[in-house]
């Protein structure tokens, strides 16, 4: 396991081990076209209080990785085939049902992509925010609702007390995502997993929600896994970045490093395809040619090979391992770049 990324040293750490260690995670789905490996031997760490961004296109396996941590993959058709998810030293994949339920919503909370459909339309917002407090903290509903009111004002929902009895359809998209954040914060989780929390929102609202999320996780010293396809988001909010392609990690590095010196052709392609204010005027955006990989039909070698400018015979034949190219900087590519 010499190629595994080391835990970040830039963030506060628990005695020795990082808060979360994902090791060799493999998650597959049964489909009409056969078994699809959505996540293939993915390993990464998250230190306490750290913000790690997982970046990739749709189908790169980033959401499946996130859902696999809390074992929320619908089975069937999904299945976590192998690997370890060590959270505070315990392997979440080996816990019995009751023990994993005790982790969900308590020490690890999730925020989902679609605030429109991720809240229950038939239950009041207060009830939905208070629910984890009642469940995990064994507090009475009255006490849980009082805490829910505090949480709603914490996420800047005006007039929180009177909105407890409102239903999700009476809120705007941005407000609903604030409710989701309040719900995630309910039990002071040590880790929050946010699966594309702003993708469904207006651009103006996106920045507000991310700033709020960052501020609140900093205050509560929660670690954050931010799943996104937006490298702009990553630059502003993440300590460390994991870049995924075709279900595998292709590069991982501290955010600043990755921006300064992207070492994988895919990462460089991503960088070149986003507009930069500090870029040379007149320079053109360069799209990555070709299509994202078909997970049911991955090439035997590097998944990016068909789209890569530096591709060689070796890339098509063998899978490049994740190797250190700098301090806490790893990438999976045969070519020096």
């Amino acid at each position: 396991m010499d190629s595994l990324p080391e835990p970040s040293t830039g963030a506060p750490r628990l005695a020795g081990a990082p808060l979360l260690q994902v090791r060799d995670l493999v998650t597959t789905f049964r489909t009409d076209r056969g078994k699809v490996v959505a996540v293939d031997r993915v390993s990464f760490d998250v230190a306490a209080g750290e913000t790690v961004a997982i970046v990739g296109e749709s189908g790169s396996g980033k959401s499946v990785t996130a859902l696999s941590i809390l074992r929320l993959i619908p089975n069937p058709p999904g299945r976590i085939e192998q690997g370890e998810v060590l959270f505070e030293g315990r392997d979440l994949l080996k816990l019995d049902d009751a023990s994993i339920r005790a982790v969900r919503g308590d020490s690890i909370a999730m925020i989902f992509q679609e605030p429109m459909s991720s809240l229950n339309p038939a239950l009041t917002v207060g009830m939905q925010v208070a629910e984890p407090i009642n469940l995990h903290r064994k507090r009475s509903w009255t006490a849980a609702f009082a805490r829910a009111r505090d949480l709603l004002s914490k996420v800047s929902i005006p007039d929180a007390g009177s909105r407890l009895g409102s239903y999700p359809h009476q809120f705007s998209g941005g407000m609903r995502q604030r409710v989701m954040i309040a719900m995630a914060l309910a039990c002071d989780p040590k880790l929050i997993i946010a699966d594309e929390p702003t993708t469904a929102l207006d651009v103006t609202v996106q920045a507000q929600i991310l700033a709020l999320l960052k501020q609140l996780t900093r205050e509560s010293k929660s670690a954050l896994i931010l799943i996104t396809h937006d490298l702009g988001v990553v630059a502003r909010y993440a300590d460390r970045v994991v870049v995924m392609y075709g279900g595998r990690i292709v590069e991982t590095a501290p955010a600043a490093d990755l921006y300064a010196k992207p070492r994988h052709p895919y990462t460089r392609g991503l960088m070149a395809s986003i507009p930069r204010l500090d870029g040379e005027t007149g320079s053109r955006l360069v799209p990555i040619e070709g299509q994202p990989p078909d997970l049911a039909n991955l090439p035997p070698g590097c998944a990016f090979a068909p789209r890569c400018k530096h591709v060689s015979e070796r890339c098509r034949a063998a899978l490049p391992p994740l190797e250190a190219v700098g301090a806490r900087h790893y990438r999976a590519c045969f070519h020096d770049a």
Binding site: A102, D106, M110, F112, P121, L123, E131, L135, H169
Partner: protein, 318 residues
């Protein structure tokens, strides 16, 4: 809310008007009218009368529209449904006696249907494609395929052959002896309820499967809730909205089924009354029964619409 109910009740008036016209006219179009029956039945009093005299005596010599307005006027003004053409007894009295029995049977059957359909439908959905699911679904198809009159007949015939047991023939009212009454009602209610439960169960299962795939159910799992809470608190309520609609649509079937089972189990409800009335062409009774059934079905559907407001917070009545 009150305004909504008031408007809905007002909207019943034109519907009921058309329903009453249709009922009134169609029963008089059944081939073989009451006069023929009376003349052929060797009734002593009727035997002495001519056809015209009989018609005049029963008020059937008037044009149909004037008969209709006399009939509907009496109902609206005096609540008088007219008199049976055979027994000369007030129809309203008969209806009042028979109605509660049929409604009791219908209500019990509905309870059975829901008690069977919802738990099995939910179970079938959360254990999709397991042996239990297949058994539940086969049971539902069986219930759908087996007509309740056949089931009723079998229950009458076989236990009496095997164990010499047969249902009570003498009907006991609920007010006289509730336990004995429920004992008598149980078998027809279960047969009717199971027949109705089939469709309800399948819809409950389909809706649960649909709802269990929703994002908010994943959110509920992510909060750490156990299956019981995910299903009862987060999924069931959303899944039941279309099921309630179905129950409203089944109200006429419920009454129709009750009519048949009353006949088999000799329960003196509206069904038995209607059946006798139709075979005797006793027009005031037939129209009276139909009118009451129509009002009941419409009121049940109003209740169904009102229950949406309880289940779905997005529904507001204006």
């Amino acid at each position: 809310m009150q305004a909504y109910i008031a408007r809905r009740l007002l909207a019943l008036i034109p519907t009921l008007f058309f329903a009453s016209v249709i009922v009134f006219v169609t029963v008089r179009l059944i081939p073989g009218d009451i006069i023929d029956l009376m003349l052929s039945s060797n009734d002593i009093s009727a035997g002495k009368l001519s056809r015209d005299q009989l018609e005049a005596a029963l008020g059937l010599d008037q044009p149909m529209y004037s008969q209709y307005f006399r009939w509907i006027g009496a109902i609206l003004i005096h609540g008088d449904f007219g008199k049976s053409l055979w027994q000369n007894a007030p129809v309203a009295e008969q209806l009042l006696m028979r109605l509660p029995i049929t409604f009791e049977l219908g209500f019990l059957a509905l309870l059975v249907a829901l008690a069977v359909a919802i738990p099995i439908g939910v179970y079938s959905a959360i254990r999709q494609d397991t042996a239990g699911d297949y058994i539940a679904r086969s049971f539902s198809i069986l219930m759908l395929a087996v007509p309740s009159f056949w089931m009723g007949t079998m229950v009458m015939v076989f236990p009496s052959i095997w164990w010499g047991w047969s249902p009570d023939v003498k009907f006991v009212h609920f007010t006289q002896d509730p336990l004995r009454n429920l004992g008598q009602m149980a078998i027809p209610a279960v047969i009717l309820g199971c027949a109705l439960s089939a469709v309800t169960m399948r819809l409950t299962r389909t809706m649960m499967l649909e709802v269990l795939r929703q994002d908010y159910v994943r959110t509920a799992w992510a909060k750490g809730l156990d299956e019981r809470l995910v299903v009862t608190r987060h999924a069931l309520r959303n899944a039941l909205i279309p099921v309630v609609t179905l129950i409203g649509l089944q109200a006429p079937l419920l009454i129709g089924g009750a009519v048949i089972l009353e006949q088999i189990f000799v329960i003196p409800g509206m069904g038995l009354l209607l059946l006798e009335a139709v075979s005797q062409r006793d027009y005031p009774i037939i129209t009276g029964v139909f009118l009451i059934v129509g009002v009941a079905v419409m009121l049940i559907n109003l209740l169904v619409d009102l229950s949406y407001g309880v289940l779905d917070p997005k529904v507001r009545y204006r």
